[in-house]
Every structure is written in C-alpha cells, then in structure tokens.
Amino acid sequence: MKQIYVGLTGNEAVATAFKQARPHVAPAFPITPQTEMMHKFADFVADGVVDTEMILVESEHSAMSAAIGSAATGARTFTATSSAGFALMWEVVYIAASLRLPICMPVVNRALSGNINIHNDHSDAMGGRDAGWIQLWCENTQEAYDHALMCWRIAEHKDVRLPVMINYDGFIISHTAESLHILPDEDAWKFVGPKDLKAGYSLLDMDRPITVGPLDLTDYYFEHKVSQIEALKRAPKYIAEVYKEFGQLTGRHYSFFEEYRTDDADLVIVALGSTAGTAKDVIDAQREKGVKVGLLKIHMFRPFPAAELAKALSKAKVVGVMDKSASFGGWGGPLFNEIRSALYDLPARPKIHNWIYGLGGRDTDTKQIVSLIEQLQAIAKGREAETVNLLGVRL
C-alpha cells in the first residue's frame, strides 16, 4: 500500500487519524496542549471532510459525560484532554470503563497543577491508571497517528469493549512537526471499518429498552468489577491481533513493549513516551564505546504485561526505570513499582532502581541519559545506590 509522507505535529496527526475513523460524535472542551488537536478536527468538520457531530460542552466533566451518553447509544465517540482537564473528568472516566463503552481519548500528557505548568510529564495519565481504561503510550507523532487508528479496532472489539486512552507527550510530541507516513483516507477507513451499530445494546433502541448505570450495591457491584478485570485480562490478545494486522498493512510493527538493543544488554532502561527516542540515540553512542545497554519502551501500560516484562528483563543485571511522574509519599514512581513487582517472582532478579525525571517539562537531554547509564554501570559494578533517584533537577 502506498503511504503519504507528510510533516505534521502530533496533534495534527491524531486529528487526521480520527478524521479517517469517521466518528459519529465528539464532545470537546479545550485545554493546552490538547486544544490544537480538537481545533484541527473541528476544521475537518467545518470543511465537510468528516460528518461528526461536535458537542461544545462547558467542562471536561461534561465532555466525558456527553461521550458516555453518546457511546451508550452505540455511536463511535471520542473526546480529548490533558492535565487538569483529565482531573476534572475523573469520576466520569471511571464510569466510561464501568459501562464498557468503547470511547477513545487522547490524553496529551501535561503536568498537574500547582503551580500552574502547561508542559509535559505523566502525572495526569498515571493518576488514571486504575480507572479501567486501556492505556497506550506513544514515542513520536508516527506512533500517535498509528495508535489513533488502531484504538478503534481495540476498543470496539466485541470481546474487549473498553475505552482506550492514547498518551502522547504534550508539546514534545503534540506541538512538534515531524515527518511521518499516513495512510490514504480510503485505506485507513478500510482498516478501521464502520462501527457495528447492531452490536450490543443501544440507549436509542426502542424495541430493546435498557437501563444504563443503575444502583449497584453489595449484591452485584463486586461481580461487575470482576467482569471489568476479566475484560482487561482478555484485551492483550486482541491488542496483539490489531498490532499484527496493522504491521502487515503498514510495515510498522508494534508490540506491548519495544525492546531496543536489549538482546545482550546488562543494563536496561525502561521508559514511556518521547524520552525513549532520545534514549535510543544515547544507547547507540554508548554501544560504540562498548557499554552493553538497551531500552525497553512500554506501549501498553494498561493492561500491564507483567509476565512478558519479567521474561524480557530477566537477563539484565541492572534495570533503570524512568518515571515522569512522582508518587508523593510513595516509594518510587508508578512505572517503577509495577516493574519491580512484576520481577519479584523471578528466581534471579536484576537490581531495579528508579529515576524520577522531567517533571513539568524539564528538558530531558542526552547528557541526563548518559548520566543515568553511568549510574547503572556503577551499580552493576557493585556500588551502593539509592533505590529511588532523581534526574536533571537542582538539589
């Protein structure tokens, strides 16, 4: 298939993919750095390129509420948010997953206030990691575009039917124009396909009336939560299927996590998002100096591929987990905690250390990653080190 080589910002790329998926409804409320994505999508609607009903609401809480109402009718629905906007929609984010509604939502990752900061870190989405959504993370505009097409196939799969959150770094990806390949509209549509409006139940089906979101107390609530847990357990199988089909179509092959030069690596960095790209360049330079270092970049953080990660990291001597969010009063960041827990049952565990970095958009340059690798080398040689560390901050 012939693809188109273009330069787009992350926001433009995601808006383009959503246009190609022909959603029925998009409730929207602006927040930096997500706003530009909805702007671009609204352009497509205004130009008549896509026939989506946009609902301009008065808050993110309303945006997610409207998305839930829309998705419960069976309509293909998305909204988007960042930071404080995500925090404001909190209670309804959980409801979307509880009702098993296949809503797709980019979370254009931005620091949470205070003080007010518009730049990137992962504290917004990390707070929502237990909300019951599938969480996919992207390194660059290409991955953001690709996931914005694939998310529909995952969310709407009859054996999944869960909302999907696509994470890409605010400004670093959302506002950076990068070269990427996009599919022609008709090929993208062929891949995504129309939503099966007859599947499941619809709020608007007068012949099969339903009640959505009833009171659910001690007698049934627990079982309903278990059914959500089971749905997330089933999801990886179908996510892998969609990844495979997309790879065959485009030549861009995804998996739950990407392993970069880890085959013989003694030292492995684990990261999410755009920093993974910077780390790859640093790793190439370190490899030339003979340092056996690799990278494991996670695409699928929810559901968490614990067994697969344990296997992949089992051969390393030292694992350095990078967290772009702090867990105040906790012991290390969320990614670190889950990785460390996943490795606990290995007969021989690597040493696992954590680095909190890049909060509030602090530039994470190659020097910081070199310094991290040097610390990993020292730990491998037996030097005592703190379990939880900081990177790129004044002390």
């Binding site: 730049h119 390194e139 910077t278 340059d365």
Partner: protein
Amino acid sequence: MAAATTEIRWHGRGGQGAKTAAIFLAEAVLDQGKHSQGFPEYGPERRGAPVRGFTRISDAPIRLHCSIAEPDYVIVLDPTLLDSQAAGVPDGASDDTVFLINTVETPANIRKRLGIKGGKVHTVDASLIAQECFGRPIPNMPMIGALAAVADVITLENLVASLVVRFKKKFSQAVIDGNVTAVERAYKELVSE
C-alpha cells in the same frame, strides 16, 4: 548522536515567526526526502517575549526529543536578543557553528557583541527586505532564504516551491510573490565574513 543530523536553533521575539520558521523549514525539506522535526519552546505567550525554535534535519529518522543545546546553525531574527543573557544566543556553540543574524551591522561587529572567536557569522537585513517586499517587518521567511545560501539543507528552488504551495492555502498571490522576492533577495544579499 546519529550522523548527518543538522540542528538549527532559532531565536526571535513573539510575533516574528520563529515558531513558524522552525516548523516551515521542517516541512519544506520533506520534499527532498529528508526526515525532519520542527518545534518551538513555549513560554509566556506575549508579543515581544524571547522565543526559541528548533529544527532538526536528517537523512535518517530522528529520534531525539529534547531541545537543541549544541546547534550547527543559530538564526537570530531580532538583533536585540544578542545582548540578552536570558536569550542565550551563543550558548552551546562550537567552532563549527554558523550564525545567521538579522541586522544592519557587519559580521565583525556581531562577532564582538556575541563574544565568540570560532564559528562563522553571516548577516542580512531581513527586516528591511521583508518591509520592502511584503510590507511587514516579519523576518522569518527571508532568514530561511539566507539559510539556503549557507546551509546544505534546502535548495532555493525547493524553498520557493514549498513556500508557494504552503502559502497558497492562507495568503493572496501578492503576499506569496512578496515572500518569494524576499527569500530570493536575502539569499543574494547575505553578507559573509
């Protein structure tokens, strides 16, 4: 760093088009089969605030996602930034760094103001060219024209072709013609050491 990546850092003030230039150039080089990245640094959004923009151009896919600390090219859209420590125009420059300054001054004077010994300094009065060609002192497009004269990242022909295609969506033929003339003039009127 991966070989053959050209890193360009733009210094301007809000309203002078540093962001637009950084992204425009990134998109313009795609037609030459290059990989690219263009992004601004977002701070307080007011007219006149110092703004930095970044462009990376490479033959290979670009994976770096950090700002440019050691630029190959530094392009200054506003000469008042030369004396601003906060703007940091010479920061991270090496003996190979090429400076392109929008100014009426000579390269020798600029070298003194920047306090640099190595590198190369070129100047061009891009604000005047912009004013004369399309009636507004927005120097970003002529500065890309000047860059085409000293850097092996885009040819003048490709730059003009890309400008015409991209501006057509937004601007009148008069504005497009004015910008094309401005780009061509800056390409020729560049003063080198």
